[in-house]
């Protein structure tokens, strides 16, 4: 039997057994409910929003009432404010207290300050269509922003960055601990001896990490999918780069998980009893939390600082920092490339080292192995 088949068998068991457990299903459900709730929350907190929309003169008759009617389904109140010219409208828009959007009817353009508000865009679109007596689906207006590259991050971008990195921190910790508990469970109930009589330890390790990683990717994929669906449906007021952010979060979960999971597996193999699990996981959960904290502080202080750049490419922090920074500012392509290369190299090195610790630790009975003993075991021929 080939190594690949062996790894696939082990991975399939991990997935099947976890799908069988209610914990995973409930966990996924709770996450999805959280996403749904966060979409519904603003509507609950502020049941009626008032938009102020500047419209270049001449304002067509009936546009005001049409805007009011179009806003009804969204529980929004739209106030129309005529402006003399596009330039005057631009001035109004630049002042946050005067207008939220500018409708330039001559050009069929709807201009926002920094990000497109999908709800207001939909309302304006519907109102203009009604006034002109057109039928869907041809769009009446093109949405635009006043100054998309002003370097300032919008509130929505900050939210995406924070949510993305928190989601990554939680997923990496949770799935990393799954690996640890899975390894420890096999070791403490001794089934590992039976398994290792047929499977090589590195294949067992790879299968376990891949199986649990796929579960994590599936769960994150569902969350990202639901977020994207809500975004498309116009429920979220999100920056246009949300799709890219979601893709980065999912792919950096894969890379970050691969990096941390082997560490968690080695930690599991070094422990001996289920009670040790939390202690054994500590060095890794602390590292993850520290990476998150340092990244958070550095990026929120100045996302363009040298420290922020460095943390973007360092393997231990990249999974938590890169997607967040990318949601806020433009991360250069070379930085993406460098971060990926460095993390892949680290994964390779860690697989070799953690693989040895795992191999020696698995069949080691007795008290928990200290780091020094594990290191010695790993280097024994």
């Amino acid at each position: 039997m080939s190594a690949r088949q062996m790894v696939a068998l082990v991975a399939r068991r991990e997935v099947r057994e976890r799908l069988r457990s209610r914990t995973f299903l409930y966990g996924t459900l709770i996450l999805l409910v959280c996403v749904g709730a966060s979409a519904a929350a603003p509507a609950l907190v502020a049941p009626e929003t008032t938009y102020r929309i500047a419209v270049t003169e001449p304002v067509p008759q009936g546009l005001g009432p049409a805007l009011e009617r179009a806003g009804d389904p969204f529980d929004t109140d739209v106030r129309l404010q005529p402006v003399g010219s596009a330039a005057a409208g631009r001035e109004a828009l630049e002042d946050e207290d005067v207008a939220d959007a500018l409708l330039v009817l001559g050009d069929d353009r709807l201009v926002f300050r920094t990000t497109v508000d999908t709800e207001l865009a939909a309302v304006a679109e519907s109102a203009v269509r009604t006034v002109r007596g057109h039928a869907p689906p041809a769009p009446e207006l093109t949405a635009d922003t006043l100054d998309p590259d002003n370097g300032e991050s919008s509130d929505a971008a900050v939210l995406v960055a924070m949510a993305g990195s928190i989601l990554l921190l939680i997923s990496l910790s949770v799935y990393g601990q799954w690996v640890l508990v899975g390894v420890l469970e096999e070791k403490s109930n001794r089934v590992v001896e039976l398994v290792l009589s047929a499977v090589r330890s590195r294949h067992l390790l790879a299968g376990k990490v891949i199986g649990i990683g796929l579960m994590g990717l599936g769960q994150l994929g569902l969350v990202a999918g639901l977020t994207a669906a809500l975004f498309v449906a116009g429920v979220f007021d999100a920056p246009a780069s949300l799709g890219v952010s979601a893709a980065l979060v999912v792919s950096w979960f894969a890379l970050g998980f691969a990096l941390y999971a082997f560490g968690f597996a080695a930690a599991g193999a070094m422990a001996s009893e289920q009670q040790d699990a939390a202690t054994a996981a500590q060095p890794l959960t602390v590292t993850l939390a520290a990476a998150y904290m340092v990244g958070y502080i550095a990026v929120s202080a100045d996302s363009g600082s040298v420290l922020a750049h460095v943390l973007t490419v360092i393997p231990l922090t990249a999974p938590l920092v890169l997607p967040a920074r990318n949601a806020l500012v433009r991360v250069e392509l070379w930085e993406h490339a460098l971060a990926v290369v460095l993390v892949l190299v680290s994964i390779y090195a860690l697989v070799r080292l953690a693989g040895r610790v795992y191999d020696r630790g698995l069949l080691h009975t007795g008290p928990r192995l200290g780091l020094r003993t594990a290191w010695r075991l790993a280097h024994r021929p």
């Binding site: 039997m1 057994e17 039976l194 290792l196 009589s197």
Partner: protein, 325 residues
């Protein structure tokens, strides 16, 4: 006959002298351990350990606790990296793909506690190279054979202790292994389970599998095994078929039952020692050179001899004799 014991100092030579004729020498056919050595930090676990288990034969692996039985068995599966010597199957070094054809029941029993029994056996079948359908069929067949067919959907942790033992056995057998290695398979079993397991092992050997198992239950081993290997402090101190080992002993066993003898009677023949008195039966151990007729005559002088048996010592006595050295 230069059968046993193999002196510690001479243990470097392959131990095969007590092998009955017609058996392949060590490592030629079936499992062979040749000159295997293993050291754990300060403990020399195996010293030049050699023995073989031909296909279709059952070998009882005997030795006191800590003698190296488990280490030798784990070495067969690569779970212990040996320092020297080799583990062979049909004369060739054993590697990972060969091991897929071996079945193992470790001393520390363990299965996935929350995984249902049926799928678990299928999984172990598949890990050993069975296709999906073959694994399912084999799992079902073993569950039926071991009387667990109605527990296929139960989690292992929900099974009774006895049923967990059966499940463990099924996990070792599901892929119809060429070699079956069981570490203390009879420990903790009730008499019915012992009989069932003994039958399964006999059937496996009859099917052509080489069967190696360790045990402290020497009467049982004597009952079901043709051959044994005895290990002490990492060295194989005797190996061969049970009858030959017993006959090669320098001692003989005498069991007699007397009527009208004084309590505490002893034959008073030199070289005869009392093993035990129980329910009117007197068990004696003598040197091989002692004439049993002398003992019989001494008994007849003092009482009526109702029963008198003379023969080689039991395997348990041979074992103790070996350990005394």
């Amino acid at each position: 006959m230069s059968v046993i014991p193999v002196e510690g100092a001479r243990a470097t030579e392959p131990v095969e002298s007590a092998m009955s004729p017609g058996h392949a020498p060590a490592g030629q056919d079936g499992l062979g351990l040749e000159h295997v050595g293993k050291r754990f930090d300060s403990v020399q676990a195996l010293v030049d350990c050699s023995f073989s288990v031909p296909r279709g034969r059952m070998l009882g692996f005997l030795g006191p606790n800590g003698a190296g039985k488990t280490t030798a068995m784990r070495a067969v599966f690569g779970l212990v990296r040996i320092d020297s010597g080799s583990v062979l199957w049909d004369g060739c070094p054993v590697g990972p793909s060969r091991r897929l054809r071996f079945g193992y029941m470790p001393e520390e029993r363990g299965l996935y506690p929350r995984m249902p029994l049926g799928p678990q056996l299928e999984y172990f079948g598949r890990l050993h190279g069975l296709g999906a359908r073959d694994a399912r069929d084999a799992a079902r067949a073993w569950l039926t054979r071991l009387g667990l067919e109605d527990r296929a959907g139960a989690k292992v942790e929900e099974l009774s202790h006895g049923n967990q033992q059966r499940a463990q056995l099924a996990a070792a057998l599901v892929h119809e292994p060429d070699l079956l290695v069981l570490d203390e398979p009879f420990a903790g079993l009730d008499p019915i389970a012992v009989r069932m397991l003994a039958e399964v092992l006999r059937d496996e050997a009859a099917r052509g599998a080489a069967v190696l198992f360790s045990s402290h239950q020497l009467e049982l081993v004597e009952d079901i095994c043709e051959e044994v290997a005895v290990i002490d402090r990492g060295r194989v101190v005797a190996t061969g078929d049970v009858d030959t080992l017993r006959r090669a002993s320098r001692r003989r066993r005498i069991e007699l039952r007397l009527e009208g003898a004084e309590t505490g009677w002893l034959p008073g023949v030199e070289g005869v020692e009392l093993v035990e008195r129980r329910d009117g039966e007197i068990r004696l151990l003598t040197g091989r050179d002692v004439d049993p007729a002398e003992v019989l005559a001494a008994a007849a002088r003092t009482a009526r001899v109702v029963e008198f048996r003379y023969g080689p010592p039991s395997l348990a006595q041979v074992f103790l004799e070996l350990m005394e050295r």
